[in-house]
Symmetry: C2
Subunit: 482 residues, 2 copies
């Protein structure tokens, strides 16, 4: 397999011809062709190196030799389904279980975060006998139809969206832009009470809640870090209503948050979800995923009488790769690295916040970090076009970063876990340069007016940008549910 077969233009033409037009490329006006990658670096067809700040899927680093070796050796031996006994499957389940609270002991292996979250819903529906689901605003849980229904991030994109009557959208527990903020005396309780209100309203309509689902830290929703204690209080309300708590760790699990292996553990040791779903990083890019739950939920699902079979799920190759990923995380202390480098990155970004009024908020845990850009630190006017401009300018400097959140104004860091302090230095230095110089140029060229109020507030940079006036819309620029 050669690294490049076609000139880039031919690749683009064939893509237009044969790949669904709903499948977007990064930087659609000048997409990147990547032919190889190693660690936190990706290389294009001309050998140009890009620093990768976004691929949380390549968790232990792109093309990690230990992972490649494990996959290749197992492919050579055997790749078959889980109706045959195989040690990789049970060993992997055992290893995974050891990272989790004891009561989360039963695994189902599937192929993607979407399959995992769909199965989590099926488990909850079967265990509780209730159909309704509470989800967070701006949440993204996957692309199969059942998950589009519970993903406001997606269904808000639809012109003719009709929200399912059995889906209830709770406030995103966002302490920066949400209903209850840093200055609120008890935002955890306030946000949990909102969930409880939804439960009560559902009951009034004769509905029953089967599950509350949330990413342990919201990713596409804008790198949101829920206040500690929130999950415990939500779980209390949801359990009282006979529902289950599903923690979606697809984006944030496997040590990324630094202090813990799972992001839900940030809430405190007294919190244990009923179901945990995993995905992206689990196989370092190999299609695999997992749902873990309690014995009680698993037995109830079994008692429905329906077998669960997943053709590729838990095959020996996937499990060999999963085991190698766990080995590398341990051997290279990547969780520790996430804590150290993530902390370092946060400090650098905090300095940017002090220096540039556009940087409104820095938040994160480990190597899951968000920098929210605003044109106005009081009104929190989202600096969407500015965020996109930074992303584009970083690309020209061969740095891959993305912007997300409901306003696409949150710079989103979730690099491979081998990301270094030097890498953090490099990306923040470039962001500083852009914020200091080039962005101003961009502004003066493309936009021509300031509001008096914003000037009066002391913003040094132009702060009212109309994305309608000819600049590409954020939607078309950069999507990043990865």
């Amino acid at each position: 397999m050669t690294a490049e077969m076609f000139p880039k233009e031919k690749t683009i033409d064939l893509r237009k011809k044969h790949i669904g037009p709903s499948c977007k490329v990064f930087f659609s006006h000048d997409p990147i062709k990547i032919v190889r990658a190693k660690g936190q670096y990706m290389y294009d067809e001309n050998g140009v190196r890009y620093l990768d700040c976004i691929n949380n899927v390549a968790h232990v680093g792109h093309s990690h030799p230990m992972v490649v070796k494990a996959g290749a050796e197992q492919m050579e031996l055997l790749n078959t389904n889980s109706r045959f006994l195989h040690d990789n499957l049970v060993q992997y389940a055992q290893r995974l279980q050891a990272t989790l609270p004891e009561k989360l002991s039963v695994c189902y292996f599937v192929n993607s975060g979407s399959e995992a979250n769909d199965l989590a819903l099926r488990l909850a529906w079967e265990y509780t006998g209730h159909k309704d689901v509470i989800t967070l605003d701006n949440a993204y849980h996957g692309h199969v139809s059942s998950l589009i229904n519970i993903s406001p991030y997606k269904f808000h994109q639809l012109a003719n969206a009709e929200q399912s009557k059995s889906v209830h959208v709770a406030l995103s527990p966002d302490l920066y832009r949400g209903n209850y903020r840093q200055d609120h005396p008890d935002p955890a309780t306030a946000y949990a009470d909102d969930v409880n209100n939804l439960i009560q309203k559902a009951h009034e309509k004769g509905h029953k809640v089967g599950a509350f689902i949330a990413e342990s830290l919201q990713s596409c929703g804008g790198q949101v870090i829920p206040p500690a204690g929130y999950f415990q209080k939500v779980a209390q309300h949801v359990h009282q209503a006979g529902g289950l708590f599903i923690a979606d760790e697809v984006q944030v699990g496997f040590g990324r948050v630094g202090t813990h292996f799972w992001a839900f553990q940030l809430q405190g040791e007294d919190f244990v979800p009923d179901i945990v779903t995993m995905g992206k990083p689990i196989g370092n890019g190999h299609p695999m995923s997992c749902v873990v739950t309690t014995r009680e939920v698993a037995e109830a699902f079994k008692n429905s009488g329906m077998e669960y079979f997943n053709t590729f799920g838990g095959n020996p190759v996937s499990c060999a790769i999963g085991l190698a990923v766990l080995d590398v995380i341990e051997k290279e202390d990547l969780q520790g690295n996430a804590l150290r480098v993530g902390g370092y990155l946060m400090r650098l970004l905090e300095q940017q916040k002090e220096k540039h009024p556009l940087v409104g908020d820095i938040r994160g845990r480990g190597l899951f970090v968000g920098a929210e850009l605003v044109r106005d630190r009081v009104k929190l006017t989202p600096a969407t076009a500015e965020a996109q401009d930074i992303i584009y300018k970083l690309k020209e400097q061969h740095i891959l970063l993305s912007a997300d959140g409901p306003h696409r104004n949150v710079l989103k860091f979730k690099p491979p876990m081998c990301f270094s302090e030097e890498d953090a230095d490099m990306v923040v230095e470039k962001i500083d340069e852009i914020l200091t110089g080039t962005l101003n140029k961009f502004y003066y060229e493309y936009y021509s007016f300031f509001t008096d109020i914003e000037k009066a507030l002391g913003l040094q940079m132009p702060s009212t940008v109309h994305t309608e006036n000819g600049t590409p819309s954020p939607q078309s620029l950069w999507h990043s549910q990865i």
Copy 2:
């Protein structure tokens, strides 16, 4: 990665402890531990060789060196998502398109047959604006929630099954056991009229049909070969109602039927589905899948405004593996082999039908063959326990075969495509021995009565078996949606 880490008992214990109890193993009373496989053979931890007559996923043969090499080499270079340009993706799409009618030109890459069928529904719903789906009786289309809804094979297993009001179940076009049989003057029209009746009934209730979905040949449904012309007539009715025709090739595509690359092509050149879904064999066990549709459907889906992103779908490793699978099919003329060996197997099985009254029907195309066992060739009483007995006895002879269909009485052949005439000789010889000798012994030991009527019909074998009386139920014995 060593081939065996635990003694078999330990593997079984760990599996009980950590793997969802809904996930069944083959031969649960004495499951098989497979540690390696090559071609059409699998080997257990003691080196015992099993002839594999069932793994249609290992399409070009287990652990095919060309496929392994392609996967390993690409893993070493790069495995990332399809938001970056990559030649493997477009080259694979181009190669796949070349096997299909011209108008099926737009691909979406996903990770499993379930993801593919769910996306097919989303495409149809978006294109047509209609919600209802017509599915065939006994159909199985996948394990995510939207597909359980359209899979009678699954939802019939549920005690408290509540069929969705937007799902309509059409007659399975089964010429042996269905409503219209070999002796019917025009079963294609009769079965298509049943679909049309469902459409009319849906209309009467104010519903609109978005899609008809069917496997091109029903697999779990009992190796059913629909009469030629049936799909054309169904498509006419469905199109007239504003719906789309989805051909599910997850089990039967990629040359298995011998005369054609796709099983829907058996219906005639004048038939082209609107959407084709692919899965199992596409990556020889690697988790990948694809949905192919027309430009019109793809554009309508895009115009919904919602991006489609699939983290692992269409990654360079999956596509490298997919390309290698296509290469091997061509290089080793596996489609030709399926035609030749499948025909040979059918002839051997026809001889069994002449010899043993229990063998009621032999049907198939290429290396997709069913042998339906009945206790009574007039009443077609399903010989369920006998089928299970054969499966178990074959296992003792180190041959892996399965039984499926709504009565689990259809012996189901869908081996790796390198299956040889010698392999066919071996399995049919063993079946002959079992039918001649051992089965009789089994019968006389376990069952004690014949009905006068059945004896009068000239059946040489005991024909009334009560599966309730202590024999394992078919459900617990052998499931085989692979």
